[in-house]
């Protein structure tokens, strides 16, 4: 029976470590004792936030939308508003980020345009222009060579 006792002691020790970790982290967090850690340490709960929250906090949010783009790019803003591509700039250009100090990413590949304009089952041609013969149409050239992405031309 000695070996069973010894192995049980090892197991119980591991269990105790786990339980201490669980309850320690719970006490630090907001789940069991809300505000408890704040009172003791004077800081916001170390474990009260989820991992995503912690990650998100590091990065300031920069997705202000098209009204922010308008401050500098009034011309394109007006043009885009009058055309068919009157949706948010972020849709193609991505969020603003640190834009004036860094360059924006602009994808102008055929695949990028076809992401919306390829024909797929259930994609409504009334809502979005479908290029049915995209394999032949303008073969080998970029879409933006002929179509202005900010105000695409339709027949």
């Amino acid at each position: 029976m000695k070996q069973v006792e010894r192995s049980l002691i090892v197991f119980i020790n591991i269990l105790i470590i786990f339980i201490i970790a669980i309850f320690g982290l719970r006490v630090m967090g907001e789940e069991v004792y809300p505000g408890y850690a704040d009172r003791i340490f004077g800081v916001k709960g170390i474990y009260g936030k989820s991992g995503e929250e912690k990650e998100l906090e590091k990065e300031p949010i920069h997705a202000e939308g098209r009204e922010d783009c308008r401050k500098c790019h009034q011309e394109i803003y007006t043009k885009s508003n009058e055309g068919k591509h009157s949706f948010d700039c972020q849709t193609c250009h991505g969020p603003l980020g640190e834009h004036p100090s860094t360059d924006m990413i602009v994808t102008n590949s055929r695949e990028f345009c076809l992401g919306c304009h390829r024909s797929t089952i259930g994609r409504d041609p009334a809502a979005i222009r479908i290029v049915n013969n995209w394999e032949e149409h303008g073969k080998g050239r970029l879409c933006v060579a002929c179509h202005d992405p900010h105000s695409p031309w339709f027949d």
């Binding site: 970790a21 508003n81 009157s86 089952i121 809502a127």
Partner: protein, 384 residues
């Protein structure tokens, strides 16, 4: 100034988020389930399988250890990997996985310790390498008695731990159907799915044990016993039959009822033609080969190539089943208005190379475990 914004959806408005790594995760888990079940069969019912119990235990440890590898690769942030165990949440089915997984791991480790205790004590006393001797001395936990009484107690402890492990392993395989059901696709939203997938996993585990038995006997130069192969092949045959029959009956029922699930299957089968073909043809082929292997082994002959073919076919078939469920559940639009296609990339964290590395990880870990806890004594062939 007009600021019209185009609203509405472009269907299908989703993509495949769970890639090939999430296929591997239930696959590894179901192999563990199968191996643990084979061990329990050897422990409780079939005395002729006693010969392979050490082999099964040491080879299920690497699989248990690498079961979380695909999840870790898929989610990223390895520094958070430990958080699943120390933040139990009983209202989330997925979070309970952490508890079940730990139960499984500790039961397996305990079982391994009791099973190898005599070997550990022997090596702690006779090992020549001083570092290894210290390692085994620590592992003995200071208990050196290996008389009849002590071994009897060991056997009893192993029996209890096997029971715990069996329950944990079967609970563990619930995650494999969870991945289909969570997506709530009509095809996989069926009550028969858990049973069918547990049986698929049992077949895969049994096939893996058969393959490893061939490998280990080759390496340690131990004589293969036909009755072991025969018993294993028989079990794997019936597990595979159950898995195949349940899925087929389910599909036929859908077709007969012209269920909405049948529409989903018809749409999905354009994208899943290859895995579906593998699943059906492979199952039938494996069943045939297994029965032949059984028949041959009962006559005392071991047909090694056929065993290898049957085992590998079952492993591939079960992988295809998992693929159909995890990927197939995501291909169809919820509004049944279309489907997307999925081809895994070659490189990258979610790519095929990473997937292959994860699949190989237990097999790479296995020799290391086998070095410290050899399942057989290596027999040196006498050279005259």
């Amino acid at each position: 100034m007009s600021s019209e914004v185009v609203e509405g959806f472009v269907y299908p408005n989703h993509e495949v988020f769970w890639g090939v790594l999430i296929v591997i995760y239930p696959y590894l888990v179901s192999i563990i389930t199968g191996m643990v079940t084979v061990y329990a069969i050897a422990e409780f019912w079939r005395k002729e399988l006693k010969d392979i119990e050490k082999l099964v235990v040491i080879s299920s440890l690497p699989f248990v250890l690498s079961a979380l590898l695909p999840l870790l690769l898929d989610l990223g942030h390895p520094q958070r990997a430990f958080e699943i165990y120390i933040t139990p949440n009983f209202s989330s089915v997925m979070a309970v996985f952490g508890i079940v997984y730990l139960t499984e791991l500790f039961a397996l480790l305990g079982e391994m310790w009791f099973l190898f205790r005599v070997d550990i004590v022997r090596r702690a006393m006779n090992e020549e390498n001083s570092v290894l001797r210290l390692f085994y001395k620590i592992l003995t936990l200071g208990v050196y008695d290996t008389d009849e009484e002590a071994i009897k107690v060991d056997r009893k402890a192993i029996k209890i731990l096997t029971g715990v492990e069996l329950i944990a392993a079967w609970c563990l395989s619930y995650v494999s159907f969870l991945f289909g059901v969570v997506k709530s696709n009509p095809w996989w939203n069926t009550t028969i799915l858990p049973v069918s997938f547990v049986f698929g996993g049992l077949a895969a585990g049994g096939a893996m044990v058969m393959l490893l038995y061939l490998l280990f006997t080759e390496f340690y130069r131990v004589d293969r016993k036909p009755e072991i192969i025969s018993t294993l092949a028989n079990y794997v045959f019936y597990f595979m039959l159950a898995a195949f029959a349940l899925e087929t009956i389910n599909t036929i029922l859908y077709a007969y009822k012209e269920d909405v699930a049948w529409a989903v299957i018809k749409l999905a089968s354009t994208q899943l033609a290859l895995p579906l073909a593998i699943q059906v043809i492979g199952s039938l082929e494996a069943l045939l080969f297994l029965k032949y292997v059984c028949y041959k082994c009962n006559m005392g002959k071991i047909n090694t190539p056929f065993i290898v073919i049957a085992s590998i076919t079952i492993l591939v078939v079960v992988f295809a089943m998992r693929w159909n469920m995890v990927i197939g559940a995501q291909l169809i639009d919820y509004g049944l208005r279309g489907f997307v296609s999925y081809t895994p990339p070659l490189w990258g964290r979610e790519g095929l190379i990473a997937a292959l590395a994860v699949l190989m990880a237990p097999l790479i870990m296995l020799p290391i475990v086998a070095y410290f806890f050899p399942p057989y004594e290596k027999r040196v062939r006498a050279v005259l």
